[in-house]
Amino acid sequence: MRYLLSITAVLLCLSLSAQREDDYYKIEKVSIPKGVELEVGGMDFMADGRLAVCTRRGEIWLIGDLEKEASYVQFARGLHEPLGLAVRDGAIYVSQRGEVTKLEDTNGDDRADRFETVYELPLTGNYHEYHYGPLFRPDGSMMATMNVGWEGGGVSRVKWRGWMMRYDVDAKELKPYAAGLRSPAGFGTNAQGDIFVAENQGDWIGSGRITHLAEGDFAGHRESLVWADQPGSKVKTRLEDIHDDHKTMYAARKALGTVKLPAVWFPHGILGISTAAIITDRTEGGFGPFAGQMLVSDQGQSKIMRVSLEKVEGEYQGAVFPFREGFASGLLRMNFNKDNTLYAGQTARGWSATGGKEFALERLRWTGKVPFEMYQIKATENGLEVEFTQPVNPATVRASAFTIQNFTYLYRKAYGSPVVDIKDNAIRSATLLPDGKTVRLELAGFRPGFIYEVKLKNIRAADGTGLLHDFGYYTLNAIPGGGGGADAGADDTSEAMTGEYVAAKRPTEMPASWNGKVDTELLLESTPGMKFKQTFLTVKAGAKVRLTFRNPDDMQHNFLLTSGKKGNVVGKAAEGLGLKGLAEGYIPDMDEVLVHTRLVEPDTNDVIYFEAPKKPGLYEYICTVPGHYQSMRGVLKVE
């Protein structure tokens, strides 16, 4: 019942059609010559203004004349899937699978002729052992992150998988810095120079997020802890400390004291499905009104989110907002150019992205117009303060203009988490502060350890402009002053925390009337790249079907059979489900959905029983995990 109050993002967007992201931030394409597969893994600007890009196929390109028909020079090739690149003192550093390499061109012919191994990493040969970075620190040291391997769940079979590492260039020493990472595809610093790492949903990671990492921190993924007691590690958490019984990360933090909470959670499917690059707007206004804030890209949803942070009780927490969508491919890397344009390096091979292109290089340019946006959200002792980019029309400030709910994610070995323990927050008061730009909200049921969805309607700027985006999510790890709030926090073990979901259109028992007989046995499998392996199935009209959906992929998928050529209709509806979708396995409640499986964990399956439609024809089926339905679909032919 509590879901009824949740109004979907889609509906709200419709009412705001006057405002377009493109009016404020324009996406421009950078040309890529035929034959260059620019699957961007990392990039950085060189002193001469060219953009150095490494690709997943192991090439490094130096791209000049970025404003015109771009020129491409191949600097190096044959590197092992480099996923990070940094320019430093005229040399190019890349993180290959097995090492960080310093590449130099000693004779000035734009071709690397010296490849120095800065440090080497042990590997098992597991494909998921990716390596990102390096990020140079002001002291000359460099940071890098390393995925855990994937064997149906994360594994750390060699040192230091699942860690952020710090390399001391002078001492030539690689030291463990922080643990608890799963797939830390991007990291960067905020305006204060503190390091934040982006994380992807998976085992132990309920949803995407960014976490501030200081030396010795443990960011949540258990498997990295196998090395926690090794020399050099300052991580205090141990393997046995981490188990499903904590229920939430907040509770684990309370119990152990050593778990680092994410500074900002990004609700899966709403604000990204695979967070990647983190970059701080250091343009001092050259890129619009968000100087000092962080931008976080998403690979799967081809977009950028924006983050405002504050420090409460000594630790970072803050809000995430939509910023700009519509990029052509999977947005893995971002860099600011000197002219304050933001370059977006993209790739989608193997992990399809909303944009649809296999790879792309684009840039985002601020048009000079300031959008009316939530600039930041801050916590107070009894609620939230929402600051806008422009003065607000006082007449539009009223409690009913805000809808607030809070929720959290499970902390568990199983892949990802549904949204759990959703509670509405009644708004006791909404007051415009004297600055004319900030609204103070006093909330009922304000409790730490939860993520607050803030949705707005009919709020206008003083000049009448409507909002460009009307929602954001604030992660409340702590209440200023250290209060416990109106509730005990996210450590209860009520029914709301189980994440179990039972549905009428998921018949998992064979109907008794079938007398134990099935007419048709269908096997459907996922295959890497967000696809079904079987894209065409055939059944007789009215046949009694047992369908097994098997998921050997390394992410969750589901199966929904639609009532005809309804894949797009159902897919879009699922994407608009918002929090409710997360809580209910992305199954929209609509007639176009005939039957479906549960959200199937990696390396597991789900079996459902149904009678095929009586009417012959073509019935589309799709996976409705956000970002999947465009590519993950097939047709059931009923004969």
Partner: protein, 561 residues
Amino acid sequence: MLRYLPLIFLLAACSRDPLVLEVIETKEATAETGLQTIEGIVEGAMSEDQTLLDEHEDLTIKFAYRLTEGSKADLLLEGQYAFSLDQARLKDMPARTKMEVTPDSWQDIEISYKTATDDNPALIVAAYLNGNLLYYQQPLKEKADGPLSIKLVSGQVEIADVEYSRSAGRGSTVDPAGNIILNVPLLRYELYDLEPGTEDVKDWASMEPVVTGYTNRFDINYLREGKNAFALRFFGKLHVPETEEYTFQMWTSNPARGRFYVDGDERLHRGGDQSTWRANETLSLSEGVHDVRVDYIQKGGWNAFNLGYLVGNQGKMSFNSMDGPKAIARPGGTSTLEVEMDEYPYLLRSFLYYPAPKVYEASDKRTHVISVGEGQGPHYSLDLQSGALLQVWRGGFADVHEMWDGRGEPQVMKPLGNSLVLDGRMQWATSASSSWPAFPDDPDEDDFAHRAHELDEAGRPTFLYSFGPGEVSDKIVPDGTGLLRELTFTAGGNPEAFTQVAAARTITETAPGQYALRGPGLKITIESYDGKGLSLQRGGGMDRLIAQIPAKGHIRYRIDW
């Protein structure tokens, strides 16, 4: 002649002739292959046809051969099926890949052969030249009954290292550490179509298999040929090397059913929607041959089947199954994605199956490998964690389909030509008196590390490593159809280093500074050397040609094949 002048000068200047081989025997045990030698046959140059076995049925035969230019010879299986040694192919049946047989170089041939039965023709289960697959599951035509022989058609052929077993594949062995490795050499299988939902099959006799064939592993997902409701039966003969208590464990996916039979008795059963994780049974198996059978029934859904065993303190072993920590190559996989070449050498870093896996054999992955190719070769792969030359080949350079297609999960490059696989142990050591150091368990903890590589004007690399007390370098360049390799050692003071010039089953000195290798079939010619001397280390079934290199010393040699 001029190029040898420094060498002659060097020979004259040294107190000990550095090219005189000192032979060092190590105590390293030889790995058990499960094969045996054939008594009474003549190895070496053959002046006439030679019978290897008077009669045979199922067979694995492995030997090295060398032909002079223009010579022709055939291996005859059961007196009937001719495999041309000079063309590396069966008569009238093209191989998967055409492979050139270089005259005067040793070649390793390995064929596993299944004799014809009343129902089935004879079969080449697999045939490999130097480890490269020539045939897989190739049926032959007529029935035959005759000896295994080599027919000399013209010219001259030498043979060596002849080993065989009377089974068509790798049988059980006991390794040097005493571990019992159980393996059924070949499994006959039958695939049946089932009505969806079929829970069990009792009356096999009333059913007709839709496919029959042979395989080495219970590779259900490959053998089901896309079916969802099916049954697979496997039949084989297990040789138990030692009488012991063996605990077998079987795991099947839900809702599959599996049964394991030994000598006709059902010993393990796991089936339907039962919740037990796996079925277990401890059997006392006597030394000798036992009939084994597996029945696998899939009524629909996800298929998976693994059979393993425990014996003594060995830890869990896989029994002809697809699980385990190592990579297992399937016979399929014909798509290729070739690296585009230009006038510069291509340096490609990747993982590499090492040694190149035979079909259904396990293989390790080397993770820090660089392959260097130009034109039509010769190309080579180096292991940056050991400095070892892992393989050399001519022809096309690299297939990167398993790196650049989709997620590229294996991240493995494959040579496009017929590669010769070399020894993968450490390139350098500080002593030659004990067994040559193996590839380490933890390559990052030893005193050998890749430091850098630098490209010359032509784009060819020199690899630089830190090693023990100093640094070493390695430069390999194509020279005609072979490779020229120069290794140097640089250190302060007077430390010495040792480098492995070559390793093979047999290394024979053909002239001072010249060596013929068998397994792999290379020729080594030392062109320049300023160390104290060469030694030949023998142990573990391998000969290793090792050169002492003084501080600031070097060795340069050709590799031909």
